[in-house]
Point group: C2
Amino acid sequence: MTATITRFPGPSRPCDKIVVALCGGVGGAKLAHGLYQILDPGALHVVVNTADDFQHLSLHISPDLDTVLYTLGGRADMDRGWGRSEESWRFLGALEEVGGETWFQLGDQDLAMHVLRTHWLDWGKPLSAFAQHVARKFDIAAQIIPMTDDTVATWVTTDDGLMPFQQYFVREKCEPRIRAIHFEGAGQAKPPAAAIAALKDPRLKAIIICPSNPYLSIDPILSIPGIKDAVLEASCPVVAVSPIIKGRSVKGPTAKIMTELGIHPSWEFIARHYRGLIDGLLIEDGDSSEGNMNFHLSVQSAPILMKTLEDRRRLGETVITFAESLQGQPRRKSKPPPVVLYRT
Amino acid sequence: MTATITRFPGPSRPCDKIVVALCGGVGGAKLAHGLYQILDPGALHVVVNTADDFQHLSLHISPDLDTVLYTLGGRADMDRGWGRSEESWRFLGALEEVGGETWFQLGDQDLAMHVLRTHWLDWGKPLSAFAQHVARKFDIAAQIIPMTDDTVATWVTTDDGLMPFQQYFVREKCEPRIRAIHFEGAGQAKPPAAAIAALKDPRLKAIIICPSNPYLSIDPILSIPGIKDAVLEASCPVVAVSPIIKGRSVKGPTAKIMTELGIHPSWEFIARHYRGLIDGLLIEDGDSSEGNMNFHLSVQSAPILMKTLEDRRRLGETVITFAESLQGQPRRKSKPPPVVLYRT
């Protein structure tokens, strides 16, 4: 008798149903991880924001993509919220010694991703191929797809002037007041074939918009014409999870940015932001309505704050159940407004 | 009363006398370190082989330049013979995990040099400017000058085919039999202005050829037309230290390569190799003459094996004293043959 040993995730089985998640960094990756835990292997397709990508020390850094890969690959630092677990910082110490810029923290292990990615891009391979390669190396039984293989870069106009996203986010610690957000190159960018294939797949059961920053993480994804169109045309339910809980963002500057853009930080304004695009919005239990919406949207409440691994799995189940409940109901009626560059 | 505190090496003092050393990696760097210890601050100018430089993972690696900078900067690993002391290897582990090439060992601290150098070059700054920058950061009171800012690459023709130097040296561990050595791009390369300025400086007291591999470390330097000419035209003594001791190379493949090229590995053949270029050769105490030379050369013996830091200092003193003793004597008569591509 012989035993056939197959390596996890094993030979690809066709899934009955697939799910697409649109995702930014930390908060989004947590829900993606929850979905990953409850769905069949191969069912989850995560389309990840790359407008935060930037060149640093001539290395190509993809913060959100790496966060998703580390999180689903079981390598993310749970406490710090970004980067790899059990990280060390000897490179950064040596870099400081020779006068290199150290405002962006590059861990010794994390650096392997940046160096190898830069090398792949240098040799003309697309970012999506690198993401797929790393996902396989990390034994991730899900598709991790950057929103585009083209260059799209978030710039923010602030009271301190125009600056690239990472300068605003890391160097300036989100302190300058935002007046406008721009996604340079978005209009000309194309999504990778795998993203469109997933969004047009007849097995598509739900599109989930993760609780990432709508303005800085989800809008860039939707600013890619092919993706926004495919989401609008999908016949399955589209469900978002509110990144705002009791008027605050769980992590990051969502609420602060909303206020600066003249928008009241509440789930209602998240609903308005995604108006025409989503069929359902999942909000935190006990979050009260602060206004009336003059458009139809299914809103459901549940504990949506994710502190533990179990919270992620539970929210994944909740959001999928919610999406299933919307299946076959009248679809959202209106086309959404185009993604706008917010100007105050 | 006020005190003026100046940072070592302090304001540059004009030196009465300067010395130029031509140098490869480990063995050469040891003597450069010995010279550095005994000469006045600012007196030593080290011209370093860069034909071993190569692109690895799209990073620009300069093995010999870094060895010299680490050695004179007090950061070299004394036991391993290359790289930095107290090095760690977490980057390399993470790189292996994502399927990157790991045959060339990149330490976490060492990597800072490669990343920052690649960034400088990417922005159009010359390699010599980077070397000068790092030397200053490491408080090295000597000029560390790459032999050229242009691309020169050593290729070796072996019984296993043509291969770039690092593949031969690191990946193949010098095992294939060498049939020829080529310095691609050498004919068109120019030396940095600082190298020529030092070699033409009226204060120049000696040119020292370090005990590096003549074929793989020193010949590339001499293959740069401007440098070879300046050495030939210098009026000061030119002294070499034999890399062969009792028929063997201290470290590395010098003796093996000599044999493969049909040259008997002895100091006499080192003398013949540098014929017309050098005035004096320092050999190991007790190394007997194995043949007659039909050209004039001052040969002196001393303990030239460097095991300790004190050995380096002592050899530095010996070689400078030897060079001083040759001052004013009749200069080498013949022009050297052109640097040849050795073919067997």
